[in-house]
Symmetry: C2
Subunit: 104 residues, 2 copies
């Protein structure tokens, strides 16, 4: 069987792999499998799926700036690569709160 | 209470936020909260925490190249920002397998 079409059972995956599948699944949910997110859908995603984390980003314009910067190819839609960059940026921004709490 | 020290209960977090906390936790586990990962620890992390996904990356040198490219500041250690870039790259590389399966 061609390895590319091997399907996964989420129980086979590690916690980290499942976390990455969650990141993919949320994108596909909001993009309705169109491989691109409209900016309005991205805002909905952020407000609905990252409610706690965006509270940590105190200046709202930081988020708007993040979204504006994301649209690297300027097609006013966000592709999966641009979305993954946002997730990585927010993860980095928020990790300082978790290091502080988890290392006590 | 200063908002920065507000602590989270993982049940409060959405699935996407919990996925991002998992990404943070795995980094801290392998870096022993030192905020930097030695390349050898990163390889251990990849082999142990991403066993299924690295199978999808058929050419082993792709992974070695990824790790080499990661060390952006050239200190032969991987900080959280560089690690998040790796996670984003692998997520993008593997998402094509999931779109294919999930959209059927």
């Amino acid at each position: 069987m061609d390895k590319r079409s091997r399907s996964y059972d989420r129980e086979e995956l590690t916690e980290l792999e499942n976390a990455m599948v969650t990141i993919m699944r949320v994108f596909h949910l909001y993009s309705r499998y169109q491989c691109k997110l409209k900016k309005a859908d991205l805002k909905k995603l952020i407000n609905k799926e990252l409610p706690q984390f965006i509270q940590e980003i105190h200046e709202p314009q930081v988020l708007d700036q993040l979204i504006a910067d994301l649209d690297i190819n300027g097609d006013s839609e966000i592709d999966f690569q641009e979305y993954s960059t946002l997730i990585a940026m927010v993860t980095v921004a928020c990790q300082q709160f978790f290091v502080h709490k988890e290392s006590k």
